[in-house]
């Protein structure tokens, strides 16, 4: 009798309303990815770009408090010339060299960098051309701006080079490969401890979470660099964890004598309801930790960390959504499919 309340939650029956929400997000993400000039916001790590080094020399090492202003000064020249800054950082033995990473972008538009000639043309925009005594280049303009800003920086050294994204791409392909192996091993484990249907459903849910995460990252145009790989793998871990908790419940409920008469949908609905408290609370606490990280980093101006935290937040939400609204339903439909296949196989056999 007491199960009455639980059975009111008819999530499996409403699968046809829940699934399209995810599909819509995936579709919008996919369309944006395919539109030329939009796509994913891929950072220098993968796409490559240019690096501009500004060596301020000894005067800065004696006046380190000028650093913030100098970054602003240099940044405004760079963006003023239509380039996009991917990263800034200090290097050098006394931290007097400012390294600025530039994306392959001019005037807000991505430029192609596939061939060496295209890369050379981009570098020429930065370094300037010989026939104009390099005065049309970004390097010259930065030097001028810095010298005007403070005469002490007379003769500041500015140089540029092209950076290649190939090694990060290799890291990415290695990571994808390793994650695929990890997923197969998880599938085997789940198949062994639960059922193969549960394993397949869990992997579908996992794919959903990762794809929605990638779609949202594209929709919000968050820049993707090597840290994104770690963010995705984090969500793989979280997603599988969340799904297993529900399937564990399904496994337990299916074994109970009092539940013998229940249909798959009822078992799934009950299991979702039973674990709902846990799903909400765990999501809430994990979200709290990561949102605080994002906010603190935003306040302190650490954009790389934001670029890292936001995709994780998307993934957490997708993971919770799929584990409550989708995964158990997928399990039910897979079971239906499996029994249909079995039946038709049986029919085929008896027909013979």
């Amino acid at each position: 009798m007491k199960k009455l309340k639980d059975l009111k939650l008819k999530i499996v029956e409403k699968f046809k309303y829940f699934a399209p929400i995810s599909l819509a997000i995936l579709l919008v993400g996919l369309i944006l990815m395919l539109i030329p000039g939009v796509g994913m916001n891929v950072g220098i790590d993968f796409a490559g770009g240019a690096k501009v080094n500004v060596d301020f020399g000894e005067y800065l090492s004696n006046n380190p408090n000028l650093k913030t202003e100098l970054i602003d000064e240099v940044s405004s020249v760079i963006t003023g010339e239509g380039f996009s800054i991917g990263s800034t950082r200090w290097s050098g033995d006394s931290n007097t060299i400012l390294e600025v990473g530039l994306e392959y972008e001019v005037g807000g538009k991505k430029v192609s960098s596939k061939s060496e000639d295209e890369q050379r043309a981009f570098l020429e925009k930065i370094e300037g051309t010989e026939e104009n005594s390099y005065e049309d280049g970004l390097v010259y303009k930065i030097r001028q701006a810095v010298e005007t800003y403070n005469a002490e920086f007379e003769g500041v050294e500015v140089s540029a080079n092209i950076v290649n994204g190939s090694t990060s791409k290799k890291l990415l392909s290695n990571a994808i490969w390793a994650t695929a192996v990890a997923v197969v091993i998880m599938l085997i484990y789940i198949g062994f401890r639960f059922t193969l249907t549960s394993g397949i459903a869990a992997v579908i849910a996992l794919l959903h979470d990762v794809l929605v995460m990638i779609a949202l990252t594209t929709i919000f145009q968050i820049q993707v660099n090597t840290t994104f790989i770690a963010a995705v793998i984090t969500i793989v871990g979280y997603s599988i964890n969340a799904t297993i908790v529900i399937f564990d419940r399904i496994r337990e409920v299916s074994k109970l004598d009092s539940m013998k008469d229940l249909s798959d949908s009822d078992i799934a609905n009950k299991s979702i309801a039973d674990t709902l408290g846990r799903s909400i609370l765990t999501t809430l606490t994990t979200l709290a930790v990561i949102v605080v990280l994002a906010v603190v980093c935003a306040v302190m101006g650490i954009t790389t960390m934001e670029e890292f935290a936001l995709p994780i937040i998307f993934g957490l939400l997708a993971g919770t959504y799929s584990s409550v609204f989708l995964s158990a339903s997928i399990w039910v439909y897979l079971r239906k499919l499996a029994s249909k296949i079995k039946e038709s196989a049986k029919k085929a056999k008896s027909a013979n």
């Binding site: 009798m1 007491k2 309340k5 690096k51 950082r89 290097s91 050098g92 033995d93 931290n95 890369q119 570098l123 080079n161 092209i162 950076v163 290649n164 090694t167 290799k170 890291l171 290695n174 990571a175 490969w177 390793a178 994650t179 192996v181 990890a182 997923v183 091993i185 998880m186 484990y189 789940i190 401890r193 090597t226 840290t227 770690a230 793989v236 871990g237 979280y238 599988i240 964890n241 297993i244 908790v245 564990d248 419940r249 039973d274 674990t275 846990r278 609370l281 765990t282 809430l284 606490t285 994990t286 709290a288 930790v289 605080v292 990280l293 603190v296 302190m300 650490i302 790389t304 960390m305």
Partner: protein, 434 residues
């Protein structure tokens, strides 16, 4: 009596956690002056955790290729690609799993940029990392008997006198060649050369059929470790020289680490509040358990030698904290449910822990498996993520199953088992039946 005893034990646990917490973090947070003066010479445990380039900075070296005449027409893309792989392997052999390598420049004017974390001998490593690594065993006339390809494994170590050596283990082919070489060179000198320079030149006493050998006569342990890393990484077709090297500051900015620590602290407090509001006594138990988890995690990360914390590593920590909380939530939901179903507080707690264990085990073991796969298969920064995740999850399972349970037991004794203290209710059930 039980009540007093439990209260004392709990107080001791909390005190120890607090002391360990101070030891973990004391120079991260601004402390009152009188404490600060007392711990001037003390390095917190947290500050001894190895940090990656993104959080602490390190060294950058630009390696330019020394192109031989024959190589000018070779496929430069391929040469660079294999060079990057070998350099990566060498750096990993040195323990710099977080090192990053990028190719810069266009066409034939390309260079390799290597970033390694801040360690004592970073510049020395950059100096030698691009060397060809061509190992040969020769006689006095220059006849080559063995090459790097005949080496299956190699490691830096010490001989019985404490002198630094490099241990070589031959492949099957190598063992045969070595045996032949020592037969031919009995009572003569064998020259072990690296890039044409003699590293050591022992006199062969008799034919040696063993599958291992040592390179002796190395000046420092550091040099031995470099030689081992280079030989093991493989031979470079394209040799490099260090064009420039420089210090670099933290890639994520100098504030990234303090920001994550502060965010972590605020995040934990929020988690404590959510847990206590929801579960009262049980929430208190999990807050204490999570504090113990956090201070122990910091100790473990500091103790495990191959941990180099980076931004991905922080993600691993966050995920494992999430899972530690999750484990507690699963247990408490179960206890609530068992109590609502009519069990006594004691048996609800016992059954709750027992049942929840299966759930926690299955959900965490899948992640543990994934972490192990990533650790084995992934290069670079993902390895760091995998190891922190692995350590974090194993510790979180231990905390949830052992520590939370113990503290719940203590709190049960202290509260004399009042259901309301643990936010346990039966009304839900009665309402339903009505």
């Amino acid at each position: 009596m039980k009540k007093v005893k439990s209260a004392i034990i709990l107080a001791v646990i909390v005190l120890f956690t607090a002391i360990l917490g101070v030891a973990d973090f004391c120079n991260t947070f601004p402390l009152p002056k009188f404490i600060e003066n007392g711990i001037k010479d003390f390095n917190s445990i947290g500050s001894t955790i190895g940090l990656g380039i993104d959080l602490k900075g390190g060294y950058v070296g630009v390696l330019t290729p020394k192109l031989d005449e024959g190589q000018e027409n070779a496929d430069i893309d391929e040469l660079f690609e294999s060079a990057v792989d070998i350099l990566q392997a060498r750096l990993e052999n040195k323990g710099y799993t977080e090192a990053t390598i990028t190719i810069q420049g266009i066409g034939a004017s390309r260079e390799i940029r290597v970033e390694i974390p801040e360690v004592d001998n970073a510049e020395e490593v950059l100096e030698v990392i691009g060397s060809a690594g061509k190992l040969t065993f020769e006689d006095s006339s220059g006849t080559v008997y063995l090459e790097g390809a005949d080496i299956a494994d190699c490691q830096a170590g010490y001989d019985q006198d404490g002198e630094p050596i490099v241990q070589l283990k031959f492949t099957q082919q190598g063992t045969k060649k070595f045996s032949e070489a020592t037969a031919a060179l009995t009572s003569k000198q064998l020259y072990i050369k690296l890039d044409g320079e003699v590293v050591s030149a022992p006199t062969v006493n008799e034919q040696i059929t063993s599958e291992s050998a040592q390179i002796t006569g190395i000046a420092t342990p550091e040099e031995a470790s470099n030689i081992a890393a280079i030989i093991k990484g493989g031979r470079l077709e394209l040799e490099f020289e260090l064009a420039s090297s420089n210090k670099i500051s933290a890639t994520l900015g100098e504030n990234a680490l303090p920001a994550s620590v502060i965010a972590g602290a605020i995040g934990l407090v929020i988690v404590f509040i959510i847990m206590i509001l929801n579960y009262r006594g049980l929430g208190v138990a999990s807050s204490i358990a999570l504090s113990i988890y956090t201070v122990l995690l910091v100790v473990l990360l500091a103790l495990i030698p191959w941990v180099q914390l980076t931004l991905p590593g922080i993600a691993g920590v966050i995920l494992s904290i999430g899972m530690a909380v999750d484990a507690n939530v699963i247990i408490f939901e179960r206890i609530k449910e068992e109590y609502a179903n009519g069990k006594t507080v004691t048996s609800a707690i016992n059954v709750g822990f027992k049942r929840a264990f299966i759930t926690i085990f299955d959900s965490n073991i899948t992640t543990v498996l994934a972490a192990i796969v990533l650790w084995i298969l992934c290069p670079g920064s993902i390895k760091g993520f995998a190891i922190t995740l692995l350590v974090g999850i194993l510790l979180s399972m231990f905390t949830a199953i052992v520590i939370t349970r113990f503290i719940v037991k203590l709190l049960f004794n202290i509260s004399e088992g009042k259901p309301s203290f643990f936010a346990l209710k039966r009304e839900v059930l009665e309402d339903e039946e009505a």
